[in-house]
Amino acid sequence: MSDTTNQLLNNLNSLVTGLFLLTAFGIVAMRQARGVLFLFIVQSLLLAASAVLLGLRYTSHHLYGVAVVNLISKPIIVPWLLRKTSPSEVYTRREVDQVLNIPTALLIALALAILAYFLGLPLLNAVAPEFRGPNVPIGIAGLLLGAFTITVRREALPLLIGLLVMENGAFLAGIDIARNLKMLIELAIATDGLIIVFIMSVLTRAVQKQVGTTAVGELASLKETTVEPADKPANHRNDDERIFNNAR
């Protein structure tokens, strides 16, 4: 292929990864559960797009397979499975009290993204030049931001999406540096997201039935010091405080 085409593909791939990073930031901060799901779907589409672009760029046809599997499993089956298995409450929830307030969370997320760059740099220097795309640092950033999402969120759906973002990040890096790992990546992508979604939504449903909320992050009765079941739901803030936080 000609140099201009290659450069165009490289730039398009960089663009796709840049947007991937942006969606990861959005998932950290977005309040509406449904919005988080939407961003995740966009992110999965971007992952598939990156696979296609890399496949074109390096004429590595099995990456198309990765893209197809990814397109089927994440943007289609994951939301469907969620709708089937989790209580509808998870969609309508707005998360008004994250562990950190949103600007702080975003600043930390930024710091993590920059950290990801420094983590990715030595890895990039160690591999052959054709693997040195922006996928690795941004994949690491996705991994870190997903983990960060899990730590700052309390609602079930954003937590679940946080896990999926971690996987997406790993795969985004994987389709670049482990491009030649045929079949296995497809298999991993196909099974993994579904495992996560299935198990988490079944648990969410059980939690919602048993405890009456999908704010799973507020479950905190198991500790070393107390084994007595808590008398009242632990850590439930009263509604006034919620409204106050909302207004703030």
Partner: protein
């Protein structure tokens, strides 16, 4: 040389002449999207004409600031016009007098005086609007900075003419992540700075909810006309920076002749019209944010601009 001065003046005239039109088209489109007929797209010209022929009332207790501000607000966008590419994709006479940051400062000067004037008359709504404008301004400032830094990082310069060229040579550069993300971030900035939904409602008539409008409540007659016209020109200039410098220089005149420059006018107006269409769709599909949520909106813009920078750094 003489040509370039002439083209510069033509740019100024274009901005002065078509800024009210852009505003008229926007409000007409907006009404149409709400299934109404809406005012004529030339209504802003009639408003200006009418205002210029009315008497001006100035409060006894106001100082010179109040009287001078309309002229400053009117003149600052014109100065900026001299610095940026409105019609040509090659630098004109004044192009190297200031870069994008300089242009930002000049626009900020107008905003600064408008704020002072709003406080000057002791109208109760003026200071409210002024302080809100400042809040938005403070929050938008870091985004502007990051955008400019990223631009200079990519293009090696902040002179608008050099920047615009960078995005299309080679054409694949158009898809650089830094470019697309910067455009996104700057779009959000335009919404904030231009006082559009979701930050501010330009069509609102409720003083307590106003951000931008309430600053010129005390003006009448010629002063009000200048303030209004200045505001429209500022928005037009922002659009020119956005569309011609940040998005793409396509459609600008490449030739040195007068004809080529005049021929560029319909293209530029067409680009602006397309953007206004998009803007109207955005405005109609979103609702105004609560005041304290504006911080989050601009936070999103900030993140986007930083993502642009990070993506640029990540490029191998």
């Amino acid at each position: 040389m003489f040509n370039h001065i002439l083209f510069n003046l033509i740019q100024v005239l274009v901005v002065m002449a078509f800024a009210p039109l852009a505003s008229g088209v926007t409000s007409r489109l907006k009404e149409m999207i709400q299934s109404k007929r809406g005012p004529s797209i030339f209504q802003p010209y009639r408003d200006l004409w009418k205002l210029f022929h009315k008497d001006e009332i100035v409060s006894e207790d106001s100082s010179w600031i109040f009287r001078f501000t309309p002229y400053i607000v009117f003149v600052t966008p014109i100065f900026v016009t001299l610095l940026i590419p409105v019609l040509t994709n090659y630098p004109l006479f004044f192009a190297f007098m200031g870069d994008m940051i300089g242009g930002g400062f000049i626009l900020a000067l107008g905003g600064f005086f408008a704020t002072l004037a709003a406080i000057d008359t002791a109208n109760p709504y003026g200071p409210v609007g002024a302080s809100r404008t400042r809040m938005v301004g403070f929050l938008a400032e870091p985004v502007f900075m990051i955008v400019f830094f990223t631009v200079s990082f990519v293009a090696g310069s902040t002179i608008p003419y050099i920047v615009q060229e960078k995005w299309v040579t080679p054409p694949a550069n158009f898809f650089l992540p830094s470019h697309v993300l910067l455009v996104l971030a700057f779009l959000m900035l335009i919404l904030a700075e231009g006082g559009r939904i979701p930050v501010d409602n330009p069509g609102g008539h409720f003083e307590l909810a106003m951000i931008d409008e309430s600053k010129s409540l005390e003006y009448s007659g010629r002063g009000f006309a200048l303030m209004k016209w200045g505001g429209q020109m500022k928005f037009f200039v922002l659009l020119c920076i956005f569309l011609n410098v940040l998005v793409t220089p396509w459609g600008l005149a490449g030739g040195q002749t007068l004809g080529a420059v005049l021929w560029a006018i319909p293209f530029v107006l067409f680009k602006i019209f397309c953007f206004l269409l998009a803007l109207v769709v955005i405005e109609s599909s979103l609702s105004k944010l609560r005041l304290f949520r504006i911080a989050e909106f601009l936070g999103a813009a900030f993140i986007t601009s930083v993502a642009a920078m990070i993506a640029q750094v990540f490029l191998p």
